[in-house]
């Protein structure tokens, strides 16, 4: 089996990452009854015997000594990472995997990307290399970050660029959290659009997640569990917002939303972590779902959100009523994994390369333009070494052309397209 490394950048990235590791451990604990370090575990964890002086790594098949996550944690302020290190997950990371600074990026993409990007370049590359060296066969880097802030957005995309430079053959899958319209960071449109350009150019696959959608999902689940529908009771621990892994105590405000994203990541990686009758490698996701290099944004949908207790929910077949482009009428790629998530008998994850994302990008572009027209807050960015006005115009052009490409595909919808004229052979 292959291994993957998770790189979590910024406050959001690290909070989601932390939920992912917690839930992953819970899932593996559920399945792995004998305490043996198996192939499934090795895809995301190392097994380390700390009694051996050189921090000896243990091979597959031996008993679990100490599991260490294959991760690199980056944040320009210490609060979040410190919390992780004081919580129950502290044993899962060692200090060489962390990179922190004190003052943060001030919600400024340029500070994250240019200032910290150059200052910490060597260290970041070094930590990434170490993580890669611990892998027998590294298949994929997962980057988790948000788009609206400074570190996740700016430094996160710098890390993405570094991954492309240093490890060009390793797939880069990015989970990006997009801000909602009511985001309290005023400059989030700037940060998001600047980051988008980097994502379009340097990522293999992006899974965009909108904060607004997460809020809606959480509310829906809360409605159900507060007895919204009479007679229906949600099974304990089955909701994808439940965080009952190793962590206990009161749930913090974003926990529910972060758990959804963590569950999403768990599901995407399930085929890499466990066996199944129709295995799907992570690089097959990129191959099958990305027909054109820039159109690599995949909309995720996950079901079920919760399992109703005492009710047997039959698995429904996906009805093929979606409009596909004419040249890919049967554009489905299927993977089957034999291990369901904890608390469910089965679950379904769909990743769709769908033009519906166009509306998200259009909104983002509009919010950006509202600020940019007035040159609001621009000086904070232009003061940063290496940042110029052209960065902004290039970024918005990149976004506009992306929207245009989606437009182009949308225009073919509903039209009858004849088969392309075939080559004719002289007889």
């Amino acid at each position: 089996m292959t291994q993957s490394v998770i790189v979590q950048v910024g406050q959001c990235g690290n909070q989601i990452g932390c939920r992912f590791w917690d839930l992953a451990l819970r899932e593996h604990a559920h399945v792995n009854k004998r305490g043996v370090y198996d192939e499934a575990l090795s895809s995301f964890f190392r097994n380390v015997d700390s009694r051996i002086s050189d921090g000896g790594a243990c091979g597959v098949g031996e008993r679990i000594q100490h599991l260490k996550a294959r991760a690199v944690l980056v944040d320009m302020e210490e609060g979040v990472v410190n919390e992780i290190l004081q919580g129950p997950l502290r044993e899962v990371f060692d200090s060489t995997q962390l990179l922190t600074d004190v003052s943060g990026s001030g919600n400024n993409w340029a500070v994250g990307h240019m200032t910290y990007g150059s200052a910490y370049r060597e260290q970041i590359v070094d930590k990434l290399r170490k993580a890669a060296e611990h892998c027998d066969c590294l298949q994929c880097f997962f980057l988790i970050h948000s788009m609206g802030g400074g570190t996740g957005s700016g430094l996160g995309t710098k890390v993405l660029k570094l991954l492309e430079e240093e490890f060009p053959d390793v797939c880069r899958i990015v989970t990006s959290v997009y801000p909602s319209a009511e985001d309290d960071v005023i400059t989030s449109p700037y940060n998001s659009v600047l980051a988008m350009k980097e994502l379009t150019e340097h990522a293999d696959c992006v899974i965009p997640v909108e904060n607004q959608s997460l809020v809606d999902i959480v509310n829906k689940i809360k409605y159900m569990s507060d007895g919204g529908k009479p007679g229906s009771v949600i099974k304990r621990d089955s909701a994808i917002i439940s965080g009952r892994g190793g962590l206990s105590g009161a749930e913090k405000p974003f926990d529910a939303m972060n758990n959804i994203v963590a569950n999403l990541l768990l599901n995407i990686t399930s085929s890499a972590r466990f066996e199944g009758s129709l295995n799907m490698d992570l690089n097959e996701i990129a191959m099958n779902l990305v027909p054109f290099p820039r159109l690599h944004y995949l909309v995720p949908s996950l079901t079920p959100l919760y399992t109703l207790a005492d009710v047997n929910v039959p698995s429904r077949r996906l009805r093929p009523s979606l409009p596909f482009v004419s040249w890919n009428q049967e554009g489905w790629k299927t993977g089957l994994c034999s291990v369901p998530p904890v608390g469910h008998s089965h679950s379904l994850l769909a990743l769709a390369n769908n033009t519906c994302l166009k509306s998200t990008f259009v909104e983002l572009s509009e919010r950006f333009t509202k600020l940019y027209r007035k040159k609001a807050h621009l000086h904070h960015y232009l003061h940063v070494d290496g940042m110029e006005q052209s960065c902004f115009s290039e970024a918005v052009t990149s976004l506009s052309s992306l929207i245009e490409e989606y437009d182009h595909l949308d225009a073919t919808k509903g039209k009858i397209v004849l088969d392309a004229t075939r080559l004719s052979i002289a007889t």
Partner: protein, 445 residues
């Protein structure tokens, strides 16, 4: 004479294991060891120093899981096994990408593969030839498989190479399967002596309608393919073998069916096919079997259910030449293999009807018959038809049509270009396959 098999990719390794299983259990079925058993075992297995039957096979895949499973299943059978060192795998697959298989994995690992093949060849007293087994939809079987075939052709220029291909479900298992299929077929056509094809869709129908299997899995499909392949490859008495089992099965197969370099696509159908629990309660007659099989050939049906009995071979004046017109299936050549009780009493005259064949070959040249008095795989009597005909024309045309539509928008092309093939290569491959389609379409003349 021995056949060395190369199992490539997930499909190739799974089908290959089922094939060896069928052959071994069929060969050892006889109560006493007969010549048939000896020849079959010699053809497909060698004996190691413990007296175990070891398959003459090389297992190749870019990721380890399937090879491990196949080797385990073989060993668990207790009757035969794979050689401990006859396999090669890597950690990471080809990502469903033909170019990754052909341009990267193939060249990178060819020396190791060649060495494994050489060792198997040296274990053979006399080499009958090679059979490669792979699918065309994925990345390893198709891409690496094609590269390995190329290397075999260079290293063993005088040996026969039979490529067994599994074509994917038409509704798609892999989004880029049509690209991978076109690229594979175009390249293999120049390298192979004959290409024997099984389509997942057809075999699936056999499983559901003839074998009454409710939830059809890939093992069921693979077992049917193995049964059909086994019925072709088990020892038989041919016109050239002068009263003994043929020492040159692949050579005779190729020379009887693939006499023209433009026409190498072969399809198989066998009769009867029924759930194994029903076999004991059924009786078969040669006339009945052959009548059904002939009509299956004419109406291009792969099963004895739902045959179109109205279809008749056209008279000389009626020959049409359109793809969408009358679906009469014109043959270039046919090989009929009969196995079982009273085999010499079977009358196969119906297959020598000139109306079945294209006009530029006489039926005497076009039709060949092999016999074996030994029943195959528990069927008291069975008949297999290997056909070089228009049977695969429609599925091939569909495959090219879909691939061409995708190519017209250049979708996914960047994924292939980054591993080393160009748009020119795509166009060349399309041209080659269109040529094959054109040739087969004109068989009606």
């Amino acid at each position: 004479m021995s056949v060395v098999t190369l199992q490539l990719g997930q499909c190739g390794n799974q089908v290959g294991q089922e094939l060896y299983d069928v052959i071994c259990s069929d060969a050892q079925d006889a109560q006493r060891r007969t010549t048939h058993t000896t020849v079959s075992c010699e053809r497909f297995f060698h004996q190691n120093k413990h007296g175990d039957l070891v398959a003459r096979a090389v297992l190749i895949d870019m990721e380890p899981k399937v090879i491990k499973q196949s080797m385990k299943k073989a060993a668990d059978s207790g009757r035969w096994r794979y050689g401990d060192d006859s396999h090669f795998s890597q950690k990471q697959g080809s990502g469903n990408n033909w170019a990754n298989g052909f341009c990267v994995h193939g060249p990178r690992h060819i020396e190791v593969v060649e060495e494994l093949v050489r060792r198997e060849v040296e274990r053979c007293d006399r080499l009958a030839g090679f059979m490669t087994m792979m699918s065309v939809a994925g990345g390893t079987g198709s891409g690496v498989g094609t590269y390995v075939t190329q290397s075999l052709r260079d290293a063993y220029s005088k040996s026969f190479i039979l490529n067994h291909l599994t074509w994917p479900y038409g509704t798609g298992e892999v989004i880029v399967q049509n690209y991978n299929s076109v690229l594979t077929l175009a390249h293999l056509y120049q390298l192979s002596d004959a290409i024997l094809v099984h389509e997942n869709d057809t075999v699936h129908r056999i499983c559901s309608q003839l074998l009454n299997i409710k939830h059809i899995s890939f093992s069921d499909v693979n077992r049917v393919i193995a049964h059909q392949l086994g019925s072709v490859l088990q020892p038989a008495l041919t016109a050239d073998s002068h009263g003994v089992y043929s020492r040159n099965p692949l050579g005779e197969l190729v020379s009887s069916l693939a006499c023209h370099p433009e026409y190498k696509l072969l399809s198989v159908c066998t009769i009867p096919q029924m759930p194994s629990s029903s076999i004991a309660y059924s009786t078969f007659s040669w006339p009945g079997l052959l009548k059904h099989l002939r009509q299956m050939l004419i109406s291009n049906s792969k099963m004895e259910d739902g045959i179109d009995w109205q279809m008749r071979p056209p008279s000389a004046s009626e020959r049409t030449r359109s793809l969408t017109g009358a679906s009469f299936n014109t043959s270039l050549a046919n090989l009929l293999i009969l196995r079982g009780k009273d085999v010499y009493s079977a009358e196969a005259g119906g297959f020598e009807d000139p109306a079945l064949y294209t006009s530029w070959l006489s039926p005497e040249t076009a039709f060949t018959r092999w016999n074996s008095p030994v029943p195959f795989n528990k069927y008291e009597k069975s008949a297999t038809l290997v056909s070089n005909s228009q049977a695969l024309l429609k599925p091939l045309d569909n495959m090219v049509r879909k691939a061409w539509n995708m190519f017209a928008s250049r979708a996914y092309i960047h994924q292939y270009i980054r591993f080393g093939i160009s748009e020119e290569d795509f166009l060349d491959s399309f041209t080659s396959v269109e040529q094959v389609i054109s040739s087969y379409t004109q068989l009606c003349n």
